[in-house]
Assembly symmetry: D2
Homo-oligomer: 341 residues x 4
């Protein structure tokens, strides 16, 4: 059993912690944070633990802060670091790097970092579908961001089946998450003026051979980025074959606008209706009707639930780093424990 | 055991159907609808039933429509109407009245209608907290709307404890639900130009003695109406006493902005975090910090999750109509089966 | 001729500067700022002036900043302060107080401050309709905020005609202005948890006898706050009489939902169609259909264009401070110069 | 002098009518409509005319409707059709086709149609920059839609300078216009499931040689579509050369995010600040910083003000149809009369 700590239980961390608890080959040793936020209060049981897993301070000060706010804090992460095999670090960008230098490296504990962390934090960038093997035995791994994860999943599916010459992907990003009521815009579209955007190179971190260019804008929605993708293939194919490639990808869902799922809001409602916790969608969702082939060119539009898609990747990263399972087995174990179809 | 059918499984109907299935003293005999929407597909199991409860057509044509779209339809509601004790009618306004005349009345089957139905459809308007007793033995009952339900709950709590002379409540209504992507406004506030608005008389349907006036506007949000309430009391009180009255009300929650729940988005996130299906909030949520007393006047601001709040009321209405349980017992049975605190 | 400087040409300052230029009894001596924002660039002519009025730095550093960004800066405000009779200070809250202490008081120059300034900055709070006379001869005056201005205008109209016993006003505030793309919320309603909100006491600063209580929320729109108002009168009246009182108020417009102006968006469009610069609405807009009288109680809903409504008040404040014109004359001069009906 | 009628004075029609009035070589003979909307009321002077141009009914019934609502209606369009040389038809899709068959063709009057009209309505599709010459002497011309117009302008600029091999353009469309408060979505992104979308073929109607593919989504904003464009060129170029090509295009503006115009909201504010009526932007706006060249590939992001961009094209179409001016002269006359830089 691998002992896991989740450091920083915000949007990603709280989901990852709950996912780790569902794995039979891992133990969630503790969670840690520095502030008594609303979401921290909401995930804890009445006894102040995460359904049995104790809460620690990420730092001495953090432990004090939370105790002052009435939280039941069991100690400080550093004090139990020897009991832990791997930390999933979901702290804000900047803090993660300091944690690596001051806590994880000196104590010889492995760590998984998130998409917002600096690139230098880990040599291996990770997406389970695209490069599971590369994290094998590594001490530090960075799971790529939500946008990158969805691109890696869909593009690796197409690339494996047909070979991709070149991709253009244009991203329509959400402005903020559901609880982030101080983020905008209210009524603007904001171009990312860095062109091409960083998302292309981010995908190349897990698919180094891929020729990809991305542009992005930000819009006033809270659930889901949407990507418009055009890929030039090495050989002709058919719409049906591309759809089949997506169907074969374990974490890509084909969703049908014709069956009533014709917007991000309707897909959000689907996740609510099928009973996903937090209405989360861990899969990338490709609108079936948008898959369109023109000789050697294929287009599609997919959506990404920005809060949820990287969660299973964090679990898989651990299995690869500790050489616990082969790729397909790990993906299946994680997905089935989380109810991903 | 009371045999229940839910006719119309849209926003309200699908929730009510799932709630009825959780009651030990009721059987969900069937659900019925006329169209294969995305949400209908999402709630059904692979065998086409609602986890064992068969799908019927509300009409012959409806059954045909759904069968044509590949749904497994077991028959037409009318054919099994004799097996049913009560229909919870969640069909669109206009259809409900025809259903009463053509199907429920001729077949001597009781029915519960929703807030959008015409007032004449049932003599008794129902809110469990405010007038549970009045539905006793009735054949037709109308559960009041989401706005009215939240006002009835909070106002009956205050009225019972302190007596209310007069209330002004101003409503800030959501523009559309999460999946309703064709509703606006995008960037407008829309006044309800009927002043006072219908919500005041609606509350009086369950609290006939109450002197209440309401005004309303509509704004671009999808989760939650918000009400600003000012009540003049018969006697002086204190903020703490008013809060306590709310705490004593089983379906009113005090939420603390200071603890991190300072917007509808943050409360939505709380419902996601504590694992409510569909992120539903069946309680009215009063922001603790907004309860303010000035001599004999009390103010507060509360939120209402428009999709969910009336669901437990539908269940309680049945118990009152069939004289199955006393008020407090029914409320407790329903709430505890649904995980309402 | 009174020599006016406008210090700080953001949302309010740029409008006030252009309004002052339209007055025949005032000269806009200069405008001043500290940063080369997009809106500063947009209002300037090709020669870098505001159609002839030079740009100064509010400070040495500010002058340097703007010069570095390619703006034509004529000097620093302090160097010409002796030429100026009154500064309209539209700098951010905090800066205004320092400007008063370090620049205006030591140099014996009068100043008008905005609604965001601290209350102590000026003994007299100002709204032309409510208390024009009180600024007479004053050195420092604070024009009340946009919400307060609209309440003062409508309430003074009703109070003068019928006498008000008590008012409850509930405010639905916009989240951010059109260019403020980093402000939210995107999809939340945010209660102002200070209950009653500060808007009531703010109105009392210009209508000290008024018994008023206000509550407020914030929503995702960019053009216009909306207020729902209930006033208890000293005597019975009729809807027609109340409408007439509003019609008599020079800066209150009755707008008709029935004629097609049934939302803030439609009123915004009206301002665009009638050719108002920046689509500005300097009047408070009362929806005619919402004026409703119930014995001695009157209700109405009005909107406030948050960027524009205080602009004419700034001009009138100057005339009162320099004892240039009587109230009605000043209001008429200002309004007619700005095209206010 | 060409006698012009504008039939249908909604979003586009009211703007076109006002633009025609500014031309020295055209007379606006009348405007016509069928309903007394808010925007119709707003554009008319007190005497019920459009600053001297009379209002007619588009039909007998329409004239009656408007008269019943208190509008001053001078007659019915058909009765004066012989006085008119060309009708600019801005009626809703479907009506335009009937108008052509029943009114314009039988009376030998020329007509200009809008982007929403069926393709068969006119053989020549028109964009002044791309194919001014083709409308020469034509009886019926269709001005292409707002999205198509902006693509035609930017792409023709690049194509003329460098030659385009292939283009991918992804469109992020606004959900509704400022006054359209019943349109959504509130919090969804909606994919256009027709892939490629119709915008590509629409551009080819005016640039028949162009190999272009487009995808589109719809988002909750009211001012401006945004396009992300990638073009493969016939020869290498530099960012500076591409920017220069845009600068040379009379109806394309380079806007600088770095100077403070980094969102559609900030550009909207610029149009307000420089005093454009209705805050209109008739130019396509290319964000300077997004122009990016990678060997023979160029990317950029531009915005389109959906209400305004086609207005000057309607005026130019008339000049071409009546062979009044050469392309550059017409473009310059129209632009300078409208204050387009």
């Amino acid at each position: 059993m691998v002992n896991v700590a989740v450091n920083g239980v915000g949007t990603i961390g709280k989901r990852v912690a709950e996912a780790v608890k569902k794995q039979e080959d891992m133990t969630l040793y503790c969670i840690s944070d520095v502030q008594a936020t609303g979401q921290l209060r909401s995930i804890l049981s009445e006894d102040g633990s995460l359904h049995g897993t104790p809460l620690y301070g990420s730092t001495e000060d953090g432990a004090q802060n939370m105790a002052d706010e009435g939280m039941h804090v069991d100690g400080v992460l550093e004090d139990v670091i020897d009991e832990i095999d791997v930390v999933i670090d979901c702290t804000p960008p900047g803090i993660d790097q300091k944690n690596k230098e001051n806590l994880y490296e000196p104590n010889d504990v492995k760590a998984v970092f998130q998409g917002g962390a600096p690139d230098e934090i880990a040599e291996v960038k990770f997406n389970a579908d695209a490069n599971y093997e590369e994290a094998r035995g590594e001490d530090f791994v960075k799971v790529v961001s939500c946008n990158t994860t969805s691109l890696s999943r869909t593009l690796s599916a197409v690339d494996e089946s047909f070979g991709i010459d070149k991709v253009t992907a244009n991203l329509v990003r959400r402005g903020g998450d559901i609880p982030q009521d101080s983020r905008g815009p209210i009524n603007s579209t904001i171009p990312v003026t860095e062109v091409p955007s960083h998302h292309g190179p981010d995908v190349q971190a897990v698919m180094p051979e891929l020729d990809i260019t991305t542009l992005a804008v930000k819009v006033p929605v809270t659930y889901g980025h949407v990507h418009m993708v055009t890929a030039e293939l090495e050989k002709e194919t058919s719409e049906e074959d591309v759809k089949q490639a997506f169907r074969n990808q374990p974490r890509v869902n084909l969703v049908s606008a014709g069956e009533g799922y014709d917007s991000t809001g309707k897909i959000h409602e689907k996740m609510r209706d099928i009973g996903r916790k937090r209405s989360d969608m861990q899969e990338a969702g490709v609108w079936e009707e948008t898959v369109s082939v023109d000789e050697e060119r294929v287009h599609w539009i997919h959506m990404v639930h920005q809060e949820a898609i990287v969660v299973p990747e964090n679990v898989d990263a651990i299995r690869s780093m500790f050489e616990m399972e082969e790729k397909q087995d790990s993906i299946e174990m994680t997905s089935s424990s989380m109810g991903i179809e």
